[in-house]
């Protein structure tokens, strides 16, 4: 019996990778006249593709979280690019130390950026600060970094491997060559002694509405990473990152994954820049409706296809 599964490949084969990203302002923010607090970035070179999505915190006292997420994307991109250009070899034997150094570098530079912004713009003249409750004001005066709090997910896809760095909620989707979707932990497929899937990237405490963040003093211990060498046994076609507003629109993982697949196919079919732009606009439109009907949250998507 002939095996009829089709290996889909990109129509637009100009360049080794295709990357794109979009962040839309959530419906609840539109109503409340609040800015978009999500940020995203995507880029590629001949040797690798990089995608990042960041979700600035929404609570009252996070008055500068849209700056925080913007810094995170910008700094993440610079750091990752420097990393990819400097590192001679990344493999199973050294990825843990090297990725940890990269994470620290990102936190360090993000904090520096926040410090500079705070020094240039104190809370005194900030009208958003003025309208906060007393307890929120005190919390920020004690630790101004909190005002900029944001989550951070980055993925790098190369010909030979991919890695994901994750601090906070949000989702990473790995699309395999046979058109199926897995989480990085599922793709990693390591099990503990009880036969349960090892949660390397995912954090159990992220269920039920709690998230970790760049502004935490323990950010370094909360950062998670996963590194997977792709080969014939673990072939990968694409990675899609989303901020948590998207999965919160759905009641089942399957419904969410069906959206991810749709997004992937839309980009797969593009043959040139113009069509990529069209795909992005169509996605933006869809996301706007999703936010209105669902979580009301800001939504971001970033995609990298081999």
């Amino acid at each position: 019996m002939v095996n009829l599964f089709m290996h889909k490949s990109r129509k637009n084969k100009i360049g080794k990778f295709l990357t794109d990203n979009i962040s839309i302002r959530g419906y609840s923010h539109i109503i409340a006249n609040k800015e978009c607090q999500d940020c995203s970035v995507s880029w590629h070179t001949d040797s690798y593709s990089g995608i990042i999505v960041c979700d600035g915190h929404g609570g009252e006292k996070y008055i500068r979280s849209s700056k925080g997420s913007a810094f995170a994307c910008e700094i993440g991109k610079t750091a990752i690019d420097e990393f990819m250009r400097s590192i001679k070899r990344l493999d199973k034997s050294n990825y843990k130390e090297q990725l940890t150094v990269l994470e620290r570098h990102i936190i360090n530079n993000w904090r520096k950026a926040v410090e500079k912004d705070f020094n240039d713009n104190s809370f005194e003249n900030d009208e958003r600060f003025a309208v906060l409750s007393d307890s929120d004001k005190n919390a920020l005066l004690k630790n101004y970094v909190k005002a900029y709090g944001s989550t951070f997910i980055a993925a790098v896809l190369t010909g030979k491997y991919y890695f994901v760095l994750k601090l906070g909620d949000g989702n990473a989707n790995i699309i395999l060559s046979n058109d199926t979707i897995k989480t990085p932990d599922e793709h990693n497929a390591e099990y503990d002694e009880d036969g349960k899937l090892k949660k390397v990237l995912e954090d159990e405490q992220l269920e039920f509405n709690v998230t970790t963040s760049l502004c935490q003093s323990a950010a370094d211990t909360e950062f998670r990473q996963i590194f997977i060498e792709t080969d014939k046994t673990k072939p990968v076609s694409a990675i899609v990152l989303t901020t948590d507003g998207i999965i919160n629109c759905f009641r089942s993982v399957e419904a969410y994954q069906s959206l991810i697949k749709n997004i992937y196919h839309a980009y797969l079919e593009t043959e040139n820049e113009k069509e990529i732009e069209k795909a992005r606009l169509e996605l933006a439109n869809g996301l706007n409706q999703l936010s209105e009907k669902g979580s009301g949250d800001d939504l971001s998507v970033a995609i990298a296809i081999k």
């Binding site: 979700d55 915190h57 609570g59 709690v210 998230t211 919160n248 009641r251 169509e282 706007n288 409706q289």
Partner: protein, 250 residues
């Protein structure tokens, strides 16, 4: 306003649905609650549906439902399943006080209801962490430790936002603190007049915390809630005087 033509993503947009947060109320209706105390509870519960509706309005994609039970000699669920605020208005009947204080039985029953097969549906993705509000004025009269140990294994319970009211001088704050996991989540009410006010305040706080995506640093929704409750400082100093030589004390 977004273009309503879903296009490629039409089917995905169809799938979007709201998630539910369930508030569980457990009321002690033992004999000692007779009179003003149970009167305050009855009064508060009539106002709860309106409060919940107001909170739900500002939570863009969440439903809030109510499940209430009383415990005295046994446990009785007033709501056959979690109800919307409107349904609850029709279901609530004033409660009469009488009987013992079977906290253990209440915890066992709560454990049973906080599951996919009972009150929390079969899709965990459809549910936010529940809220649990317990009110008691006395010592439990049954074994509560084993039921609590079992209940603590329940994942919903672990992640639930918990608050307890210790009403009057005879209420056992330590037991309630054990149930909530921290003494910071226990509110002492000495003046029965305050019962109604506090139940309403806590209802608003718990449901708001549970339906807003709070990205806090190390503060969990429980911590956020605890901060909103007054904490009683329990600072009894240890004093050890220079002892006597007493060979019998070893």
């Amino acid at each position: 306003m977004a273009d309503t033509n879903g296009g490629r993503y039409g089917a995905n947009i169809e799938e979007v649905a709201a998630r539910t947060m369930t508030l569980f109320y457990l009321f002690d209706k033992s004999g000692s609650m007779y009179g003003e105390k149970i009167g305050q509870v009855n009064n508060a519960m009539k106002d709860i549906p309106q409060i919940i509706k107001e909170v739900a309005e500002s939570a863009p994609n969440a439903n809030i439902t109510v499940a209430a039970a009383t415990f005295s000699t046994g446990v009785e669920w007033i709501t056959p399943k979690p109800q919307t605020p409107d349904e609850f208005i029709n279901t609530w009947r004033d409660v009469q006080a009488e009987g013992l204080t079977s906290l253990g039985a209440a915890l066992t029953s709560l454990n049973e209801k906080m599951s996919r097969k009972a009150f929390l549906g079969d899709n965990p993705m459809g549910y936010l962490a529940p809220g649990i509000i317990i009110l008691s004025d006395g010592e439990p009269t049954d074994d509560w430790e084993k039921p609590l140990a079992e209940l603590k294994k329940n994942n919903w319970f672990k992640n639930a936002i918990k608050v307890a009211f210790a009403v009057g001088a005879d209420a056992n704050k330590t037991v309630l603190a054990e149930v909530c996991g921290t003494p910071e989540a226990v509110i002492s009410i000495d003046d029965p007049e305050k019962i109604r006010q506090y139940i309403k305040f806590v209802t608003a706080a718990v449901s708001k915390t549970g339906t807003t995506s709070q990205a806090s640093s190390s503060a969990s929704p429980q911590d956020v809630l605890n901060q909103q409750i007054q904490s009683i400082d329990d600072d009894k100093p240890f004093v050890v005087d220079i002892p006597d030589v007493d060979d019998s004390q070893w």
